[in-house]
Subunit: 126 residues, 2 copies
């Protein structure tokens, strides 16, 4: 049952996000905790999805566990949106723009970097 | 232990995301599944966080369960980034811009709508 793999991955991804974003956020006011998990999760998802697509790696179960469950839960759009909205409320427009652009640009570039790594790794070790 | 609440919420949030985004996505090419869970999750997080902040509702455990666990896992930045990057790869620049702007604008507006609802609901039923 694929749902069980999604559930286990989701559980682990949420815990990993909570721990890592807490450690990174410590002592900062800018929401670097959320940025870091979003960036890392997007990088890993790019690596995973292009490894699957180009090299036929990973079963449907492993995809449900890692891509949908773990990495889907490790990253978050709701906290990013809430933190961005708070900056608007606090009339911190510069912070708002920085947060939006940083998350968008780094996450999409991270997917690209994950694709580059997948192409490099699996061609070296076929 | 707060981590257990995060884990249970994360498990349920990932499963809910998988099911709902699958149902919404069915038959569409534009990634409306991801957009829908990101929008709904941001709305619920806005409602939850401002209910907690303005009206002192919800214990630390419930916050770990709902906000960090469930809603953090229900929404996703990595899938959004991956789907946006795919549109760039497919030279679908219009789709890319639409996806980025729709996710950003609707999710931040959804947090605002959640705040409006929190102010309306808890003032009516103190």
């Amino acid at each position: 049952m694929l749902l069980a793999y999604v559930a286990i991955g989701g559980m682990l991804g949420a815990v990993a996000r909570y721990v890592l974003s807490g450690v990174v956020q410590d002592g900062h006011t800018f929401p670097v905790g959320t940025l870091s998990v979003n960036m890392i999760g997007s990088f890993l998802l790019g690596f995973f999805m292009f490894s699957a697509e180009y090299f036929g790696l990973f079963s449907q179960e492993i995809r449900a566990l890692i891509a949908v469950g773990f990495l889907g839960s490790f990253t978050t759009m709701s906290t990013f949106s809430y933190e961005s909205f708070r900056m608007l409320m606090e009339v911190n427009y510069l912070g708002f723009v920085q947060n939006v652009i940083l998350n968008l640009v780094t996450c999409i570039l991270a997917v690209y970097a994950g694709r580059v790594l997948a192409l490099a790794v699996w061609r070296l070790h076929p």
